[in-house]
Amino acid sequence: MTPSDRHATGLLTRPDEFVQLITPTGERRSDPELDPWVADIDTDALSALHRDMVVVRRLDTEATALQRQGQLGLWPPLSGQEAAQIGSARALREDDFAFSSYREHAVAWVRGVGPADLLRVWRGAAASGWNPYEHGMAVPQIIIGAQALHATGWAMGARWDDTDAAAVAYFGDGATSEGDVNEALVFAASFDAPVVFFCQNNQWAISEPVGLQSRQPLARRADGFGIPGVRVDGNDVLAVMATTRIALDRARRGEGPTFIEAVTYRMGPHTTADDPKRYRGEDELAEWRGRDPIARVAALLAASGADVAAVEREAGEEADRMAADLRTAITSIADPEPLSVFDHVYAEPHAHLDRQREHYTRYLGQFDDAAGAAAPARGGSR
């Protein structure tokens, strides 16, 4: 799986190319630099990646449907970005740590986060879905770019701890304009931090095209900070996996950070609250449909003689199971207890907040005591 013992990692610096192992029509292109890193991906392994992508795409459509049904407050769809997320997340080791934005549901799924935990936050029922330490994945980040610094700090610590674990920072094309991401590159370079900057360039930051953030490939940003940059076809699960493995291997060997730009596309709206028709045309969407990350793997499997129908059937079945789990999960998510608003603000007692909680407890108590003279509720429901 890690051919680094045999091959020198090399400084994968290909910011101006478009690294690809599977073409949109499913042909396998050879790449002497990348091939050794996915030599273990045989038909079975490729089928598994295909299944992963099918399942997370279903996760996405199901969650979107749940939002339409009023079961979720909001959902930021990942459709179109399956290869970028699955290919990179499947390259991670258990003791690695992922710091993501709000859109990396597939990464969370690969890290073992269950259905209820995936949905909890988007239902508005919890501040976060899972314990980061159980899954090696931080709570997702909404402040654009902030997590890039967290990943870098974690990686600095990993290095000081003499482990060979690595951090990966997921962020979007828009995020590259925020100070935090650029500062993360500075710190990572300065401290040789074992961190992979994984930028999913999905062409859009809400309504803003990537050209507004940068006139040239984002992968070229890295070199100016002394960090190797590589531009990979983000809809090619194999190329993404190879690239991420190389970057992680560099990190583990103490060779520092790598910046990967995965060129992909957000097929859906920014979130369920967004209407992309206001800012982009159907043509563009159609063009990217032709580069579908799942279809090309199926085509490659077919070309390599696999029983694609069976692979697709099994993937579909697993997706069905996951969808069923999801629908069960959503009903299992309990509404939070009113007084839990005060939980975990501090790790240690806090006189002022404890008093505030006491007051609010007493206030709520008036309503319980329905017959009580003091119960206000004069305004009825607000």
Binding site: G73, I143, A175, E208, H352, L353, E358, H359
Partner: protein, 336 residues
């Protein structure tokens, strides 16, 4: 008079400012082609062009910092911060630059920058989308801070903010964007109530209730509910948070002897503290009870399903009214 939503009134006000002064430019994320995530700038890019309504790269420090440079050149930049919780990456440029440059330059360089911030909760949003950061800015010398609460004020105040030679943090009550009101689009700005003056939006004699932004409507509702209960509440919409029109509040408290303040932001070192302290200084002899603050808890903004247990609402406000009146309330019997 035209009937407009609060959001529509802002759009109309921005349009009038853009039309009236070439040097007015709008900067922000998604404000051009999309017209803003709340559509407040809808249609303005088409009407005024991409150099007047500018989609910027994704960086709040970048937006505010370039606005400073534009102001240096004589522009009047109007910045949109997409949601309240995204203002912090621009905080340094706001408090160390925008707020200070007129002072530092001995008045030579003006910073007529308006920073629009949709603020507050109650819309069931994800985290960082429901914050009330106004206290940070009201504590910052060199800034003006205002909050509108209805369509008529929104229309006028946004134009006043843009016309002001000082930087203005302009807070918009996002959960009221869709509430309609009557707007006089023909009236001249010169005749309008100045931005710095508070409004008595309901008269009363027993208790003065001060608030701003989205809670103005809630406070009015509380006054209505209390009237049935025999309590007469005077509701004041502060409108300007820095400076505050304390004369109007003090005049009311001198009559009522009782003050309740409500805001969504946390209590500790919030606007309520300033109002309570300032009014106590001015009206000590007139106060029948300590001013009462009904605020968001001092917690990070909670998940959507819990926000109703965080935000002040009609019942919590009335509980505060009971408290200031010495009637039985949630704190009865709690040691001070």
């Amino acid at each position: 008079m035209t009937t407009l939503t609060l959001g529509g009134a802002l759009n109309a006000g921005l349009r009038r400012s853009l039309a009236g002064d070439d040097k007015v430019v709008l900067l922000g994320e998604d404000i051009g082609t999309l017209g803003g995530v709340f559509r407040i700038t809808d249609g303005l890019k088409a009407e005024f062009g991409a150099h007047r309504v500018v989609d910027t790269p994704l960086s709040e420090a970048g937006i505010v910092g370039t606005a400073v440079g534009l102001a240096y050149r004589g522009y009047r930049p109007v910045v949109e911060i997409q949601f309240d919780g995204f203002i912090y990456p621009g905080f340094d440029q706001i408090v160390a630059q925008v707020a200070k440059l007129h002072y530092r330059s001995h008045g030579n360089v003006r910073m007529p920058i308006t920073i629009r911030v949709p603020f507050g909760g109650g819309i069931g949003a994800a985290e960082h989308h429901s914050e009330s950061p106004e206290a940070y800015f009201a504590h910052t010398a060199g800034l003006r801070v205002v909050a509108c609460s209805d369509a008529a004020d929104a229309y006028v105040m946004i134009q006043q903010a843009i016309a002001s030679d000082d930087p203005v943090l302009f807070f918009e009550p996002k959960r009221r964007y869709h509430v309609k009101g009557e707007v006089d689009e023909t009236a001249s700005l010169a005749d309008a109530k100045p931005m710095g003056v508070a409004s008595v939006v309901a008269s009363g004699t027993d208790v003065t209730l001060v608030t701003y932004g989205a809670l103005v409507q809630t406070a009015r509702d509380a006054a209505t509910a209390a009237r049935e209960d025999g309590v007469s509440i005077e509701v004041i919409d502060l409108r300007s948070l820095s400076p505050m029109d304390l004369s109007t509040v003090a005049a009311s408290v001198r009559r009522t002897g009782r003050l309740v303040i409500t805001h969504e932001a946390g209590q500790q070192v919030g606007l309520g503290a300033e109002i309570a302290a300032s009014i106590t200084e001015r009206c000590f002899e007139f106060l029948e009870a300590a001013p009462v603050r009904i605020t968001g808890h001092d917690i990070p903004y909670p998940p959507a399903k819990l926000e109703r247990h965080h935000l002040p609402d009609l019942d919590r406000i009335l509980d505060g009214v009971d408290r200031v009146l010495g009637r039985p309330n949630s704190l009865s019997g709690v040691e001070a």
